[in-house]
Structures are given as C-alpha cells and as structure tokens.
C-alpha cells in the first residue's frame, strides 16, 4: 500500500497563513476587478439570443463563413467559434427584433446561408430576454439560498465563528471561480451557476471535515495553543484531503477528456473549484478561526 504522506507529518500551515491571506485577498481583488471591468460573457441562457451548433462534412473557411453570415442582415454580429473540432462550429447571435417570428426568420436565414449539403444542425437554441432575466434571478437565489442553508447548518452544528469562517471561504471560492470566468471570457451560463453551487458544496465539505477535527481537538486539548491545534488538525486530515481531492479530480479529468464539448466549460469550472476549495479549507477557513475568538468552553 502506498501512503501518500509519511506518518506524523507536520507541516506548519499556520506559519504561512498570513502570506496565504495576502495572496487570497489579492486574488479576490483581481477577480472582482475583472468581474466589474470586463463583465461576464453571458451565454444565451442569461443574455437571450440564438445559438446553433453545426457539424460540417468538411473543414470550412471560417473567415469566408464569418463574412457570409454577417451579411445576411441580422442585428448584431454573428460569432462563429470552433467547438471541439475544426468541423464543429458554434454560431451565436443576439436576440433579433420582431419577437418569435424574428428569431425564426434569423434561424432560417442562417440555415439558408450555410446550406443543407454536408451540414448537420446538431443543436438550435433560442432564449427570450424575459426568460433570461428570470434565469439570472433564479440562479442568484439558488446560490444565495444554498449559502444561507449551509450557514444555518454550521451554526446549528458548530459555533457561529466556524460558520463565519466557512462562509468567508465560500465567498472566496465563488468569487475566484466567477473571476476566472470573467478573466478568460469563458461563457457564463446556467451550468456555470450549477458549477459554482457544486464548488460551494465541495468546498464546504472539505472545510467541515477539517473543522470537525478542530472541534474534536479543542475538546481533547484544553490548553494547547490554538495555532498548534489548528496545525495538528490540518495535518491529520491532510492525507484524506489529498486523497479525496485526488479521486474527485480523477473523475473530473475523465469527464474533461471524454465527456464531450458540451459540458467542457462546466467541467473546467469544477476542476478549478476543487483546487480552490481544497486550498481555501486549509489556508483560509481554518486560519480565519484564529481571528474569530473561539470560545473553548462552549465546544
């Protein structure tokens, strides 16, 4: 059997926590900067509009196609991107005026510009702006609701201090994830919201595991200095943290490599989130406990 770590490993995590805090604050600031300056690249789920995924028999001349599709009188520019291979294309255009019929006409004119020979229309989606607004609202409710639910559970099971530290880590992870999407201009859609929530779930899972050990050690060692106690708790859970993150990443990498282009953005977010979530439970959530004035006798 391979042990990931030697027995009685003791890495002084708490010594590094101030550096980690600075790094995290900088990362959060940069993320917020990207989110507010560049904005998010909303997909049609939220922005409304038309999206078509087509597969061609032969590799197309993208420049030619771009100029063709931008000359059929649609409002806004038609974006064409490769989607997994050179023959698979994702075509997107903003919502067209003229209501339901306007979209239909737009879809038809794209179809007639591309022709039907050697072109397979694999996916056609259209979302109206009103639906988009509702989806944004629901997504936001889901994220905030989930955070609140988790907060309540931790207050109920631990102390308020733990709950505050956990939520701080949760915001840290969510903001860094959304920031990554803003920075790389990755499409932000419904499944991204699902990914953010999932990351929240994973991150909190990881944090709670360490907190559980902290609570146990607080009961066991009444006099031990908090820094040492945190270090011991993190170290004794370290091998579990690495193993579980490892198996989860293994599954996600399989999904990334073989799961197809449709969910790749979703998986990108999850992989990032697992890494960030693991980091934050060790370097953000647990060290934060030190500053929240734990009441030892109430444990």
């Amino acid at each position: 059997m391979i042990k990931i770590l030697p027995e009685n490993v003791s890495i002084p995590f708490m010594k590094a926590h101030k550096i980690a805090f600075v790094l995290s604050v900088i990362a959060v600031a940069i993320s917020l900067f990207f989110i507010f300056s560049k904005g998010l690249n909303f997909g049609i789920d939220f922005a409304g509009g038309i999206m078509m995924e087509v597969q061609l028999d032969e590799q197309p001349d993208l420049n030619q196609m771009r100029s063709d599709l931008n000359n059929i009188g649609l409002v806004g520019s038609v974006s064409i991107q490769e989607f997994g291979s050179v023959r698979d294309l994702m075509i997107r255009v903003q919502e067209q005026p003229g209501g339901d019929k306007g979209q239909q006409i737009a879809i038809d004119s794209i179809r007639s510009a591309l022709g039907t020979d050697g072109v397979e229309y694999r996916r056609v989606e259209f979302v109206g702006p009103q639906v988009g607004d509702e989806l944004i609202r629901k997504g936001l409710y889901a994220v905030l609701g989930a955070m609140f639910g988790i907060l309540m559970y931790i207050v109920f099971r631990f102390q308020v201090q733990f709950s505050l530290a956990a939520i701080a880590a949760l915001f840290h992870d969510s903001i860094l994830t959304i920031g990554l999407f803003a920075w790389l201009e990755m499409e932000f859609n419904l499944s991204t919201v699902a990914a953010v929530l999932m990351i929240a779930g994973y991150s909190i899972n990881d944090t709670v595991v360490v907190f559980d050990r902290v609570r146990e050690n607080l009961r066991r060692y009444a006099k031990k200095p908090l820094e040492d106690l945190f270090d011991e708790s993190i170290n004794s859970m370290l091998s579990r943290t690495i193993l579980t993150s490892g198996t989860t990443l293994l599954a996600l990498v399989a999904l990334w490599a073989f799961g197809g282009e449709v969910i790749r953005g979703f998986v990108d977010a999850l992989i990032w989130g697992v890494l960030i979530g693991t980091y934050s439970s060790v370097f953000v959530a647990t060290p934060l406990l030190k500053y929240f004035k734990l009441q030892r006798d109430e444990i």
């Binding site: 996916r123 639906v131 931790i154 146990e216 198996t247 073989f258």
Partner: protein, 525 residues
C-alpha cells in the same frame, strides 16, 4: 460499530440486491426486456432510465400565453353586455370606460344607477365578476380570484388545444404542462426541427364567417363605416377586403374538417362540416344572402371570400385559397383541434439533434468508465484490501444510483451524467475518512478490532456533517434550478444518499466479516 445485528445485515443486503435489480433493465437488450415484460411477474422491475431531451434528441419549447389579450377580450364583452343592458333597461349612462380589469359605468342619476346596478348584478351573478357601486359610478371588474381563475382556465384550455394539435402531427410522447402563471412547457422527444409544430402552435386559429360589405372599398380615403372593417387577404396580393364586423358564424360550431382535392379544379381544399346548430345557421345565412360575397376569416386574415350562388343547406362546404397540400392539411388540423383562447409566443426553444444526443451518451459512458477505473485503481493502491472493499461498494453504489433513477423515473440529462461522475469521485470520501481514522488509531497503538471500531465511530459525525452540507447545496439547486441543472441536482442528491449507504454500511459489512473470519493481530491499511 463492529457488531452488525442480523436484521441490519439483512436490510443492508436487501437494499443492495434491490438496487442491482432495478438497475439491471438498463443493461438488457430491448429483446431481453420484452421477454421480461411478457414472461416474468410484473413486480420484476423493467424500467430504464428516462433520458432527457439533450440525450435522446428532441425539442423543448416554452410558450407564453398572452393573457393581456384574453383580459382585453373579456373587458370587450363586459362593455358589450353593459351597453345591451342599458338598451333593454332604457338607461343612458353618462359614460362607459375601461378600467384595468373591467369597466366603469358612470351614472349621475340615482334611480337609473340603482336599476343599472341590480341589472348588472343579476346579469353577472354566475360569472364571478364583481359589481360594486362607488359614488356615481358602478365598477364591473374581475377581482384577483376571478383573474386567477380566468388565467388557470385559459392555460388549461390552451394545453388541451395544444395537445390536440400536436397529437394530429403524430409526435410520440409529447409532454405538455403548465409552468408558472402564464407559461406552457412543451417537450417533443425525437423532434429536432420543430418548425412545423411551431407554426401550428403559432396560430390562434379563430375562424369566423362574415358578410363582405359590397357598398364600400378599402381604398376609399374617407374610410369605412363603423360596422365594417378592412382585413388583409391571405394571398397578400389582393386588396384588403371590407367585411362586416359582426361574425355570423364561428369555427367552434364546426363538426369536422379535412383536407381534400377539389373535384373540378384538382386544387387542394379544406372541406368542413358544421354541427346541427351551425348547419341550420349556415343554411339560413346562405339562403338570405344569395349573390353576396361571404368571407371566411382566420386570425384576422381573409382566407377566401366566394360569392354565395345558392343556399347551402347540408351544412358542409369547402375552403379554397390557393393552398399547397401541406397548408391545406395544416389548416384542417387547426380547424379540427379548435381555436386557442389566446395567442402563444415562443419564449425559449432548445432543440437537440439525435446524433448529438447519442454522442453525449457515449461520451458520458466513456467518462464514467474511465473515471471509475481510475478511482478503483487509486483506492486499491492506497488501501489494499480495504481499498477493494471500497471499490466493490462503489460499483454497487453505481448500480444503486442507476436503479433509483430508473425507479423514480427521474430524467437523466447530460449535466446529470456529470453529476454521477462527480459522485463517483466523492463517494469514496466517506471510506477515505474511515480508513484514515483507522490508520490513526493503529498508529496510536490500538488493536485491529478496536482501531476499526474507533475508526468508524470517530469518522461518523464528520461524514454526516460533510454530506448534509453538500446535500443542502444540491437541494437548493433542485428547487431553484431549471431544466438540465435540475437533472444535475437530482443525480447529485441520489448520489449523496447512496454513497453514504455504501460507505457506512456496505463497506463495514465487508470489513467486519473479514475481521471476524481472520482475527488478525496486525492491520495493514
């Protein structure tokens, strides 16, 4: 924790067997499933996982019912009945105005107002319309309850008509359900180009029959009289047709409609037949108006306006209007299915072709197998024998997830597959927590039996806390999410439950029985 009672053991095994049994139909060939269906008792599970439209291919349409239109129509009819009541009661109201959800009749004279009030109350008694006096005005309006009821009724009627129209096209297993206050969700498995259905649903199909006003012309700059209006002709080239506003007959009196070919010209036409009452009216109208033009109007467009050459007493006729056979067929479908109570707008559409769905399923399967294989190997490397136990539990866990999905007939979507793969990764977490704990206890000098006992005990609260918090996130996702996201939440929730069962109970059974049989002095983990 290392004493497992007899009944607990039976329950644990029973659940595992049940899970495998429910998952089994998914790996059988269609022929084998048919054999099971026909030859084995009906309690044997035989349902497979219900694939979402993004996996099996199909169209998802979200339609919005234009309620404002319905309410406007209702207010029109309130106005009309108020006018007719004032005529029969010989009262002249100072004004009749529209309000937000009704009308306001102003009557300064007290006696007349009282008469009008009681007449209006009597007239609207059965309809759930509120009639209220305030100052010199009488308000007739739909209150909140009545509006809600009106909306519900409109949605129900629309769903009924939509179902009839879609059934006529031969689409199999459509799902048509209301969503929210004024929307209808239509899911059409196997339809990847919903053009025809959308064009069928896009028409209200309200058919009415009017006399043409032959004394005026729509090109006249002085306009047309109040009782006449100009409607465009369907062929787009003919001039607008001046028709009398009053509809003499409407499509709801039709008994049947079919597309055929005209016997003389060979042109595609739509033939129709009125029901008893409609036939009598149709006979009277044609008898009294020989020589005049008679317009057939569909959704405010004149389809055709032929001359009445002779009374038509049989109650049937045909509509010719330069149709293609396809158009004639669609129109007959619309007439048979009846008119929608309000126009519909498509506010969201998602169509997936069958090839993309099939590719996604293959990709999902491959990713699951690779992920599963990797984790099985990883767990074996890390924990040896105990790793194998966790691996067997993981495989049974997969069967449980698929079995539960089949049993509940929850919809599996592509994000749902991602949820399963992710669950595989996270499912071993509970085992890892226990095994790590056992390692710690061994290192602290405990005997194998005691270390395993303590290991399970110590890890339990962590396992529960960690899973409950993740479950909260998944539950919120399920409640507030839409479409594919919901599918992800479903598999995630199922996965959390099954993985807790398999890690806490199933692996423990293996570990405990190995322990009892071998009674090891040292523990390698």
């Amino acid at each position: 924790m290392i004493n497992i009672g007899k009944y607990t053991l039976y329950t644990i095994i029973f659940i595992a067997v049940l899970g495998v049994l429910f998952a089994l139909p998914n790996v059988l060939s269609p022929e084998a499933r048919q054999y099971v269906e026909e030859n084995l008792p009906s309690w044997i599970p035989n349902q497979t996982v219900n694939l979402g439209l993004d996996l099996r291919g199909g169209s998802h349409l979200l339609l919005e019912v234009e309620m404002a239109e319905v309410i406007r129509d209702r207010i029109d009819s309130l106005t009309a009945s108020a006018r007719s009541i004032s005529r029969t009661e010989r009262i002249r109201p100072d004004s009749i105005r529209r309000s937000e959800a009704g009308i306001i009749v102003t009557l300064r004279e007290d006696d007349a107002r009282d008469t009008m009030l009681s007449a209006l109350r009597k007239f609207h008694r059965a309809e759930g319309v509120a009639v209220r006096e305030s100052g010199d005005r009488i308000e007739v309006f739909y209150d909140d309850d009545a509006l809600r009821e009106l909306k519900q009724k409109t949605i129900q009627q629309s769903i009924e008509i939509i179902r009839r129209r879609i059934d006529e096209t031969g689409t199999k297993e459509p799902i048509i359900q209301s969503q929210g206050e004024d929307r209808i969700l239509v899911q059409l498995p196997g339809v990847d180009d919903p053009e025809r259905i959308k064009s069928l649903l896009g028409k209200t199909a309200r058919m009415t029959f009017h006399l043409v006003d032959m004394d005026v012309s729509c090109s006249d700059t002085r306009g047309v009289p109040a009782g006449t209006k100009c409607l465009p002709h369907t062929d787009g080239t003919s001039a607008a047709v001046p028709i009398k506003r009053r509809a003499l007959l409407s499509g709801d009196m039709l008994d049947n409609a079919a597309s055929t070919f005209d016997q003389q010209s060979g042109q595609p036409v739509v033939s129709f037949r009125f029901n008893g009452l409609g036939a009598r009216k149709f006979g009277d109208i044609t008898k009294n108006n020989v020589g005049k033009l008679f317009a057939i109007v569909l959704d405010d467009t004149v389809i055709t306006a032929p001359r009445i050459n002779e009374p038509i007493l049989g109650g049937s006729g045909q509509i010719s209007g330069n149709f293609t056979p396809e158009k004639a067929n669609d129109m007959s479908i619309l007439l048979r299915a009846g008119a929608l109570p309000a126009p519909l707008t498509v506010v969201e559409e998602r169509s997936v072709g069958p090839s993309l769905g099939a590719d996604s399923i293959e990709a999902g399967k491959l990713a699951s197998v690779v992920g599963l294989g990797g984790i099985i190997f990883f767990m074996f490397l890390s924990y040896g024998r105990f790793g194998w136990y966790a691996d067997i539990a993981l495989l049974i866990n997969m069967a449980l997830i698929i079995g539960l999905l089949s049993m509940l007939q929850a919809t599996l979507t592509l994000p749902g597959i991602a949820g399963i793969v992710l669950t595989i990764g996270m499912a071993v977490d509970a085992n890892v927590l226990v095994f790590e704990r056992i390692r710690e206890e061994i290192a602290a000098g405990r005997s194998p039996v005691s270390a395993i006992d303590k290991g399970y005990q110590g890890a339990m609260s962590t396992i529960i806390d960690a899973n409950v918090t993740t479950f909260i996130a998944a539950l919120l996702l399920f409640i507030l999410g839409t479409g594919p996201v919901k599918g992800f939440a479903v598999t995630l929730m199922i996965g959390i439950i099954t993985s807790m069962y398999s890690a806490i109970y199933l692996t423990r059974v293996f570990v405990v029985y190995w322990l009892r049989r071998n009674r090891p002095d040292t523990l390698k983990i």
